[in-house]
């Protein structure tokens, strides 16, 4: 049996020591955390991989999916040699090329994302250990979950059993992120492909950090534990009881918000105060208390604060508007900052008495305070909200219809609002119509507005353009009343056993995960529409983060949200909300568990083999339709290393590079046949690893295509092709022009499309191809028995 030591422990080995009293030989002393390793699986080849450990795997993927760089700037301005002009094949003063510079920025982005999740995990874990002790057992599923931390087991080769066991995992993540960040220094890496390999490494580390964060909070805070039918929570501005005091929480770290719920519970006044949230803190607070309400994704921040409904605003970390203090002051709502990472220049009142802080807020002598004690945050927020609500009377910065018309007349039609708008919305045209008393154009913009407020900053007349849109659409905002299934956390091992076979064989056409932020090109309804379509087609649909909210913010013709229409189980036709950003780890975890639980591939420290299995056999695709943040980039990178393609919306091209396959280059698509050892053409599946779609229709067709894998059985491939062809016919028109590349044998052709497809194959000089037992790893070729 092996003894594994926590890195927090101290190890002392003495080979030989002569002293006055005795002579010692071969003594080993360990002080601190020591845990008997009860995981009997032999250690795999790559526990705790460093920057270059998995380089060969990365390069194998990058050979197929070559980066297509889309520079966001012609220059490099990261050191004082610069700015360096990198146009026209020029090199920078340090010798860097444009390709390497772009990949360097991608690495920086991924490092920011991984650091953010890992920093979040560290803060959360430290706080939970302080509160519950390091021996608190990890429990993410009372029944049906034995593999509690598939990513950590895979990457680190350890099986964490308590909160304390997660600390060395984060030590490792922090170490790797530091090493990765150092790579972006001037005069370090010079190869764009090696930069890209490190991007993958950052992504993998990000997934470990996310997993630690979520399994720690699920275990300690009593979140739903892998429950397919976790409760439904209220979603939307229209669900808030504005007669009550209202607290708004924004961000991603649930600890201070949990402090609010704890105080309400302790005082027995849960029904007297509304706790509402935006962004992932909202999702996580509904996992903690089903009374809490989700207002919406990040894009709802301005409109909700300006509505005046929230009496107190509590912010923690990540994706919080940096002008929240200014916006809060406009509606006389005190703001409580709760994270060292996001202090907003506020005085630190952590050590002051609750009475003093509350008095300051109620008397409006202070606009906000930094309070780094979650328990104190809870009491201050609740007491302040109850005292201040009757005074504020929900006074907002709303604009009446009459005022709207008067303001609209000031517009000079300079078009700067439109030119500042990320989605190029026809704002000036709509304001002109509003000046004439016609509000329908402004009202229509509400659905597509991402709520950034750049239009207001750009306006030469200082018009509150965003507020004009909200005023025109006030009927819509008041009736936003939906529901969301609270984040269930992991997928049960038992669910994996049920669907593993159908997924790998292709009978379930794929797993489609809608993740990430809300920088949508045409509003959140597109996410709901895509979720509904794929669930109807019997894909397994996962949701998380802002996308999980957007999925719930629309109803079908029967008035149902997707969470009411479909089950929450990880099954064909299920819509599985795993939870917040950090819960994305469970989607990757499910793919890993298919390899380890269903296919019984060794998990422990065995990254390449598991990734190879997922890449060649598990038809999973991520869709980050409104991806905006660095965290979203890191999450995507973690999926890429596992061989899972990611589709983003058109704004995703601003991440500066795509990873695209070339279906026309047959030489790129050979795999080893593990049975024969020979190299076999397996077709361009999956065709791309990182792809930006122009429209929702593009994305849906591409998702259906990207679920194909070399290992699909003919029955499975026919099922996947049926969806691909049908979506293409319906959304684009005609049979997909590349369908011949995905038919390996006549048995692959969907029965109902046989005539059309057969005719098409004849016109394209199609030849039958063998179906291999696919792998990219020569070491996995079966050894012949002698």
């Amino acid at each position: 049996m092996v003894n594994a030591l926590s890195r927090k422990g101290v190890n002392l080995s003495i080979k030989e020591l002569d002293s006055d009293i005795a002579r010692f030989r071969d003594i080993s002393i360990s002080i601190g955390a020591i845990r008997q390793d009860t995981w009997h699986e032999p250690m795999g080849p790559t526990p705790f991989p460093t920057l270059s450990t998995l380089r060969n795997w990365d390069h194998a993927l990058l050979k197929r999916y070559k980066p297509f760089y889309l520079p966001f700037c012609d220059l490099c301005c990261l050191c004082t040699y610069g700015k360096c002009d990198l146009t026209g094949q020029k090199r920078g003063a340090c010798g860097i090329t444009m390709a390497a510079q772009q990949s360097r920025i991608v690495l920086l982005t991924a490092c920011i994302g991984a650091a953010t999740h890992t920093g979040h995990a560290r803060e959360l874990l430290t706080s939970l250990i302080d509160r519950f002790g390091s021996d608190l057992p990890i429990n993410v599923g009372d029944v049906g979950v034995e593999v509690e931390a598939p990513i950590t087991r895979l990457v680190c080769g350890i099986r964490p059993q308590t909160l304390g066991d997660l600390e060395p995992v984060l030590d490792y993540c922090e170490n790797q992120i530091t090493q990765l960040l150092s790579v972006t220094h001037t005069g370090q890496e010079g190869s764009n492909i090696d930069f890209e390999s490190k991007v993958f490494h950052a992504g993998m580390i990000d997934h470990v950090g996310m997993e630690v964060a979520d399994i720690a909070q699920i275990s300690a805070l009593g979140f739903p534990k892998a429950e397919p039918e976790s409760p439904l929570a209220d979603l939307g501005l229209g669900t808030v009881d504005v007669k009550k005091p209202v607290i708004l929480v924004i961000g991603h770290n649930v600890t201070p918000s949990a402090g609010i719920i704890d105080y309400l519970r302790a005082e027995g006044i849960q029904s007297e105060v509304e706790v509402t949230g935006i962004c992932c803190t909202a999702l996580d607070i509904t996992r903690y208390s089903s009374r809490a309400k989700v207002i919406g994704p990040i894009s709802w921040q301005l409109r909700y604060i300006r509505s005046g409904v929230p009496d107190v605003i509590v912010i923690d970390e990540q994706c919080v508007r940096t002008d929240t203090l200014l916006e809060a002051a406009k509606v006389r709502s005190p703001l409580i900052a709760t994270s060292e990472k996001n202090c907003l220049g506020l005085p630190d009142r952590t050590d002051d008495t609750v009475d003093d802080i509350v008095r300051g807020f109620v008397e409006e002598s202070i606009p906000g305070a930094l309070i780094l004690d979650p328990e104190k945050v809870g009491e201050v927020a609740v007491r302040t909200a109850r005292l201040i609500a009757p005074k504020r009377k929900k006074q907002g910065a709303d604009i009446s219809k009459e005022e709207l018309g008067r303001l609209a007349k000031k517009c000079t039609q300079c078009m700067l609002c439109r030119r500042a708008c990320p989605n190029d919305l026809p704002l000036a045209q709509a304001i002109k119509a509003a000046a004439g008393g016609h509000l329908s154009l402004l009202d229509e913009l509400y659905d597509d507005c991402v709520g950034c407020g750049r239009c207001e900053s750009a306006c030469t007349q200082k018009l509150p353009v965003h507020s004009l849109i909200i005023a025109a659409a006030d009927q819509k905002t008041r009736t936003e009343s939906y529901c969301i299934r609270t984040g269930r956390g992991p997928i049960q091992d038992t669910e994996i056993r049920k669907v593993g076979g159908p997924i790998v064989l292709g009978e379930i056409p794929g797993i489609v995960a809608f993740v990430g932020c809300a920088n949508y090109p045409k509003g959140s309804r597109e996410v709901a529409e895509m979720c509904r379509e794929f669930a109807k087609r019997r894909y397994i649909v996962c949701t998380s983060g802002c996308s999980a909210m957007s999925a719930g913010m629309h109803r079908d013709e029967y008035g149902r949200t997707v969470y009411e229409q479909f089950s929450g189980a990880f099954e064909a036709g299920g819509i599985v909300n795993v939870g917040s950003c950090v819960s994305n780890a469970h989607i990757a975890g499910a793919a890993i568990k298919i390899a380890s639980i269903f296919a019984k591939r060794p998990l422990r420290g065995n990254y390449e083999e598991i990734a190879d299995y997922v890449y060649n056999r598990v038809g999973a695709v991520g869709v980050a339709w409104g991806a905006m943040s660095q965290k979203a980039a890191a999450i995507a990178a973690g999926f890429w290393r596992l061989g899972i393609p990611v589709v983003v919306g058109p704004h995703g091209t601003k991440y500066r590079r795509m990873l695209l396959g070339r279906s026309d280059k047959t030489e790129d698509w050979y795999v080893y046949d593990a049975r024969s050892g020979g190299k076999v053409y397996a077709g361009p599946v999956p065709e791309h690893l990182f792809f930006a779609a122009e429209t929702k229709e593009d994305a849906m067709v591409m998702v259906a295509k990207l679920t194909m894998r070399p290992n699909d059985t003919s029955k499975g491939r026919a099922n996947k092709l049926a969806n691909y062809i049908d979506l293409h016919k319906r959304l684009v028109g005609g049979i997909p022009p590349d369908v011949h590349l995905f038919v390996r044998s006549p048995a692959d052709i969907p029965l109902t499309m046989k005539d059309d497809v057969t005719l098409y194959l004849k016109d394209h000089d199609w030849k039958e191809q063998p179906i291999p037992d696919p792998t990219l790893l020569p070491r996995l070729i079966h050894k012949k028995r002698v």
Binding site: T87, M415, H688, E694
Partner: protein
């Protein structure tokens, strides 16, 4: 409105910016000079009505007169088919962008690399980034945009124009190509 500022104000690339197509003759000359032109059409073209005609109708006339193969990037395909025009290829925007950076790619007909790529109708920011990719990684390719807004990463771009001026320019290009 400034003629040669990025339409989306913050999308400023750097020292290398598109030359302005101030007269339709310039575009016509570029097209005539090209040996292997290609046109990439995004979904935005069905959103514009130009004096009672959809932009797509102008583009069909333009492509037919100039004998330029059209690649449709999105669901606009159906609009072309409905008008009896079959595009040369259907391909996502980033995919065609990527192929155009490959000097060894011989095009959809397998004959030779394209030397002029004409873009129209993609979302502004997406066209911006793809044109940036081509500016930096397709040194032998010239690019041109037919949108009514300035695209700094193209080799040649229309200025920011009113719809009225844009229509005059488009008609001028089509007329200049003769029958």
């Amino acid at each position: 409105m400034p003629l040669n500022e990025s339409w989306q104000t913050a999308e400023i690339p750097g020292p290398k910016k598109a030359s302005l197509i101030i007269k339709p003759d310039i575009a016509d000359a570029m097209i005539r000079r090209a040996k292997r032109p290609i046109m990439i059409v995004g979904h935005g073209i069905v959103e514009y009505d130009v004096e009672g005609l959809k932009l797509i109708d102008y583009l069909i006339e333009f492509a037919t007169k100039a004998h330029i193969p059209v690649v449709v990037t999105a669901s606009t395909n159906r609009e072309f088919l409905n008008r009896g025009f079959t595009p040369a290829a259907l391909m996502p925007a980033v995919d065609i962008g990527n192929r155009l950076t490959d000097p060894g790619w011989k095009g959809f007909d397998g004959k030779d690399a394209y030397d002029l790529a004409i873009f129209v109708g993609l979302p502004y920011y997406m066209e911006w980034t793809i044109l940036s990719g081509l500016k930096h990684f397709a040194p032998n390719l010239k690019t041109m945009t037919l949108d009514c807004v300035y695209q700094p990463n193209a080799s040649w771009s229309f200025p920011n124009s009113t719809i009225k001026d844009w229509v005059v320019n488009l008609k001028g290009i089509v007329d200049g190509l003769g029958d």
